[in-house]
């Protein structure tokens, strides 16, 4: 991009993509903003005109709002903790030379390719079913009463399902990071008297910090929007109603597009707060 000419050529070439992206993002965003200030009840009279910020105050004062925010944050946090802790361990394991490494790596990545709906169905019916699920059999084998996962430990169940889906992603990113760790650094630490645990905490983990922040950033943005897993398993019952799910219920179950749109705007704000917060951490980490 050195000359004036090549720069303007580059702009022209990028224009269609930029235009498409803008339309793609801006049209739904504008529609959301538009509906959020109107009373729009498709089955009960349609668009009933401008109502100011009424939708916003109603959404936030509804008894379901704060629990939904809380649930959302618990699920995001839980998934992050599980996928990063297990991801680091798995990455270290997969980095060890072993027989059939290639196949094992592909198997570990596999869950990422399964659609969320399918994942949720598999977990619901194969593992967590209180009569025929694998866990139920396992519990009975040890003489315990099977746990009714999706009602008694519903949030945990959702966290487990979503973590299972995102663990491969975390593992993959962390594995590439671990592979880039200079082996001489580890040897130097070994000569310096660091035992394996110290080597992990003083050398490997700091080396992974950048990859970990990237995993946190990307996963947070995607997990905030988790929907299919909840829809298929609990349907938002038993305290698993996240912000996304609440918006869905407002729009489709209560047929209140205006109220749902206001929720959408809150979700955008929440996601941005989280994103700005994370960007600063990532920025700090990427600087050095």
């Amino acid at each position: 991009m050195a000359t004036q000419h090549s720069r303007s050529a580059a702009r022209i070439m990028m224009a269609p993509a930029v235009f498409l992206l803008l339309v793609w993002m801006l049209v739904p965003l504008c529609m959301t903003l538009w509906f959020s200030v109107r009373s729009y009840l498709p089955l009960r009279g349609g668009d009933q005109g401008f109502v100011g910020l009424e939708n916003f105050s109603r959404f936030i004062t509804s008894s379901a709002f704060w629990p939904a925010v809380q649930t959302t944050l618990i699920i995001v946090g839980g998934v992050l903790v599980i996928s990063i802790v297990l991801g680091v361990l798995l990455a270290i394991l997969l980095d060890q030379p072993m027989w059939g490494q290639g196949v094992v790596r592909i198997l570990v990545i596999a869950p990422f390719f399964v659609m969320p709906t399918v994942t949720a169905l598999v977990w619901k019916n194969m593992f967590m079913d209180p009569t025929n699920g694998m866990f139920a059999h396992l519990w009975r084998f040890f003489g315990a009463d099977p746990v009714v996962w999706l009602t008694d430990a519903s949030v945990l169940s959702i966290i487990v399902i979503v973590s299972w889906q995102w663990l491969p992603f975390a593992t993959l990113i962390l594995l590439t990071a671990i592979q880039s760790l200079d082996s001489e650094q580890l040897e130097a630490a070994e000569m310096d008297g660091a035992n394996p645990v110290a080597r992990f905490f003083f050398i490997a983990l700091p080396h992974l910090s950048r990859a970990i922040t990237i995993v946190i950033l990307i996963q947070t943005i995607f997990v905030l929007a988790v929907f299919a897993e909840i829809f298929v398993t609990t349907g938002g019952a038993f305290g698993t109603r996240t912000l996304t799910y609440l918006i869905y219920q407002r729009v489709l179950e209560s047929q209140n597009v205006g109220l749902g749109s206001a929720g959408g705007v809150y979700a955008i704000i929440l996601a941005n707060i989280v994103a700005i917060f994370l960007m600063r951490i990532v920025g700090k980490n990427l600087d050095n």
Binding site: D182, E184, E187, E190, M191, G193, N288
Partner: protein
Amino acid sequence: MGHITLKQVTKSFGEVQVIPPLDLEINDGEFVVFVGPSGCGKSTLLRLIAGLEDVSSGEITIDGRAATEVPPAKRGLAMVFQSYALYPHMTVRKNIAFPLRMAKLDIAEQNKRVEAAAKVLNLTDYLDRRPGQLSGGQRQRVAIGRAIVREPAAFLFDEPLSNLDAALRVNMRLEISELHQTLDTTMIYVTHDQVEAMTMADKIVVLHAGVIEQVGSPLELYHEPRNKFVAGFIGSPKMNFVEGEEAVKLNAKCIGIRPEHIGVSLESGDWKGTVGVSEHLGSDTFLRIKMPGVQEHMTVRVGGEFGARHGDTVYLTPDRSKLHRFDAQGLRIA
């Protein structure tokens, strides 16, 4: 203290034996340099001593104690790696203090030793920087600093200067030599740089395909190489080898003469040849000379300037007292 003995040490990677049985004795306080061509096993030998690789058979003793089974951290040796292997996320201070922290020394003592090392190595102004913010020479010094705070029985260096530019290399070479004088600790130094080996070493170990070809002081190797390999490897430019008629005259398979031991004249001499390339360095002139009946070019060093050009005919006279004769096995005939 730092007396290291290797007894019948071998190392194989899978089927390949990289180090055949090898004996070596390194005395306390000695500066020992391992030299040899690339891939001859210098680094492997150093890593065996460090404990970063397990020996396949044989024994290593450090200060009279069997060290073969001792893990690297417990051998009391410190190593400086070619890539420096500094910890990028720690400041210089923390890098240098790391071995002390692992040894659980109290903070005051840690600081005292770090400051002392930084003073010796001129790093005091850089203690709060990260390795990424240092120049190559400074990083090298940090790596050395991390080694000296442990007060090891011996230092191991694996080509520590090969990433530095020529001027800096000369500087660091002198600094390491000086460090050796002040600390008086055993140092084992791997290099494939002739000059480093000749100038720094008390004792040079010449390796070739994992085998020790000769051990001796730099001048011993220069004046009395045990065989053709050592003769060709030590000295720069390389020794010239002449086979055939000239060698047979002296009862040898091959004769060797260093470039600096050949006289050149435009009028008369023992051997006649034509100049291929002449390199004028000001202080010296190097001539590459093609002689009829001799396979390779002869390299000749003439002090000062010498006015010979490509294609000129010159006469060479080797200094008979400095000639080396080699038998059919390549061993030097005394």
